[in-house]
Symmetry: C2
Subunit: 418 residues, 2 copies
């Protein structure tokens, strides 16, 4: 089955907004075994939207249109779909009532414009809105005697994500003559390249190829690590999950601690959760990352349970005065350890972690760009490491965050085992 | 003139990489008065690339193809272009020599694959490579008797940016029968909405509409502020710049200090430069932003001249113990000022700046989500402000960074005036 994507909006063509929706949809469709072969951006022009819609529907079985469902005269997705379907747009009173009720609940007046969002092509069915005011649409259409379908969903990412999983994907699978549901499991890994993982999982990949269900895919996500995704189809969600489970176990047996989490876990959330479970709090000392480790940890609600704070010691004197680092080269394991101990004491934390290194553009203390020294100091002793990370400045700093948190994960794991 | 964009690569359709190139190209083309009406993503399949190329060339005068110029069998842009041009691919010895020389300079062996990159459609001309091994291509083509052009550039962003400005845009302008060159000036603003700016610049926009050259556009960039762009065309770069200059002056006269920088300036770079010029150094105390202000300042090479460090005091005890904040509500101007003074002293800085607030998801100290208290303490006295910022957690934190740096900019400006 083939489902293409059309993102609608002049702002996308002008580069004011980057279209991330179609990439997200492509990833979701691929995980469900559906091809997405052409993805198009088109502006707010009904003639051009119609042309592109006809063009993709000539080959694709389905198309998902994102955006252009708002209340203004620029929002033309409904009009274009009606034209391609060869039908009128009619007022849907139940949609109008829902929109009016949403405005009333927020204590705001609904403008007449908003009733545009209650216009529905004849023959289309509604995907109920959850958060925004625009409902989605499922629009069956015959192209050269073949039954196809146009989906229209809002361009606002969280509304799109919700409608895709709730209504679009089930309808695609139903049309695919496939009553099955999908279950997938994402294993988050850190510490090995994609080709390295591929090699280690070689036998499993071969077995899976023979079985055909579940399927396995690697998703390389830069400084977020590499994701290994298992996707299974079955009659029920439970059955699909049961198909995935033994393979997850086999993969975990091979990759061991390289799997740091699953699904929506991040390295930050995993480390915070381990600290919380062990009843420990963390103090940081950051030089090369300039506050990025603390900023990423505190992006997660509830981080204050665990993170006492961070001393960003960018100037060498701050390292000495505030953290008690002895004079000498600051890009060294010795300095990192002194920083970690200083942070632990100064911030009243159970565990101190420190990062010092060279982000570039030039070397420092005769250490090349990409050098990272990490130290962890805690009640069960300390740990220091020197790593060589790839990339210039921003990339190197981001790799420093995940690499250091992964070391902390190891420290906490060893501690809990003892 | 109309120039569409085709981004080539199966990884784009699978959502492994988000196509940011076409958005960037759309922005550049719009700034030069060239329409980009359709932008397409297509996978590594020569038949489908050819179909899409023919489809856009039916209406567009030009098309820029990004990606698919690498050395492997998946890189099919050259083949597709040759098919649409109706010509053969031939080996270009000068390109081959350049590639061989690049490998030699890096002390690496060139594999036979790499010679694919020396294949050129008959009639095409070369855009010399600067950094990568793939040259770009300018490929004239007749479609229904009309002269059109296909450009091929690498998908690696910095190579694409370079080739676009060096070769693609000049060729588009030449074909447009327009020997003029473009000069543009970006005024970075903070502190007013797009509609507010629009209203204040109303008379100027009307004048510019009448004149037609330069043109003015607003680019809303979220927590980076709103950019006002003036773009002029003239026979020489100098003449174009002279056309822009008086309008920039008029706009600055109206917007005053809301213009914080130009072109590649950021709020971070502007504030660092003002501090540097005044010979001052900065110490931060961050609570709500959790290190984000320091992380963003230190993303800029050379920030160590100015930034001593940051004390991320996430736990209330750290605010008291390390920064000397008196007991009481921590989301208050009083606490912010004590934090700023503590940071200034502890970090040995000339100026201390502190941020405390509520990022959510829940309120704190009876203050609603979005509350930000900022304080600045320096040799010429102190300043405190309470702001209400939009958005949940991440958005609120990012708005906090630019809002607080803008306050610091005001503090430094007033200081230098005295």
């Amino acid at each position: 089955m083939r489902c293409d994507v059309i993102a609608v909006g002049t702002e996308l063509l002008l580069g004011q907004i980057v279209d991330t929706n179609s990439a997200w949809l492509g990833e979701q469709l691929a995980a469900s075994g559906i091809d997405s072969l052409i993805q198009i951006k088109v502006g707010d022009n009904v003639g051009r939207i119609v042309t592109q819609l006809r063009s993709v529907l000539a080959s694709a079985d389905a198309v998902i249109m994102c955006g252009g469902l708002g209340p203004t005269h620029d929002d033309l997705t409904r009009d274009a779909i009606a034209e391609v379907m060869g039908v009128e747009l009619v007022h849907d009173e139940s949609v109008a009532e829902t929109i009016a009720a949403m405005f009333a609940a927020r204590g705001r007046q609904m403008s007449a414009n908003n009733l545009r969002q209650a216009q529905v092509p004849v023959g289309a069915s509604i995907i109920a809105q959850t958060r925004g005011t625009a409902p989605g649409l499922i629009c069956p259409v015959q192209i050269d005697g073949v039954d196809k379908v146009i989906f229209a969903v809002p361009g606002v990412p969280h509304e799109l994500y919700d409608m895709f999983h709730r209504a679009v994907l089930p309808e695609l699978l139903r049309r695919n003559g496939d009553p099955s549901v999908i279950a997938s499991r994402l294993l988050r890994t850190w510490g090995e390249s994609e080709s390295g993982l591929n090699e280690r999982l070689d036998a499993i990949i071969e077995e899976l190829d023979a079985v055909g269900n579940p399927t396995l895919a690697f998703l390389a996500s830069g400084w977020e690590g590499i994701k290994v995704r298992l996707t299974a189809k079955a009659a029920t969600r439970e059955a699909a999950e049961q198909l995935v489970a033994p393979w997850e176990e086999k993969i975990r047996a091979i990759l061991g601690e390289q799997v740091f989490g699953t699904d929506t876990d991040t390295m930050e959330s995993v480390v915070l959760e381990m600290m919380r479970a062990q009843g420990l709090c963390l103090g940081l000392a950051e030089s090369v990352t300039g506050g990025l480790v603390a900023a990423r940890l505190t992006a997660i609600p509830g981080a204050s349970d665990v993170l006492r704070g961070s001393i960003v010691s960018y100037a060498s004197e701050v390292k000495c005065d505030l953290l008690g680092v002895a004079p000498g080269p600051v890009v060294s394991e010795k300095a990192a350890l002194e920083m970690a101990e200083g942070a632990r004491m100064r911030l009243g934390a159970d565990i101190g972690m420190a990062l010092t290194g060279v982000a570039g553009p030039t070397e420092q203390d005769q250490m090349p760009v990409g050098t990272l020294c990490v130290a962890i100091s805690g009640p069960d002793g300390s740990l220091t490491r020197t790593l060589r990370l790839p990339g210039q400045r921003e990339q190197m700093r981001q790799f420093s965050v995940i690499s250091s948190l992964d070391l902390l994960r190891g420290y906490l794991r060893d501690r809990s085992v003892e």
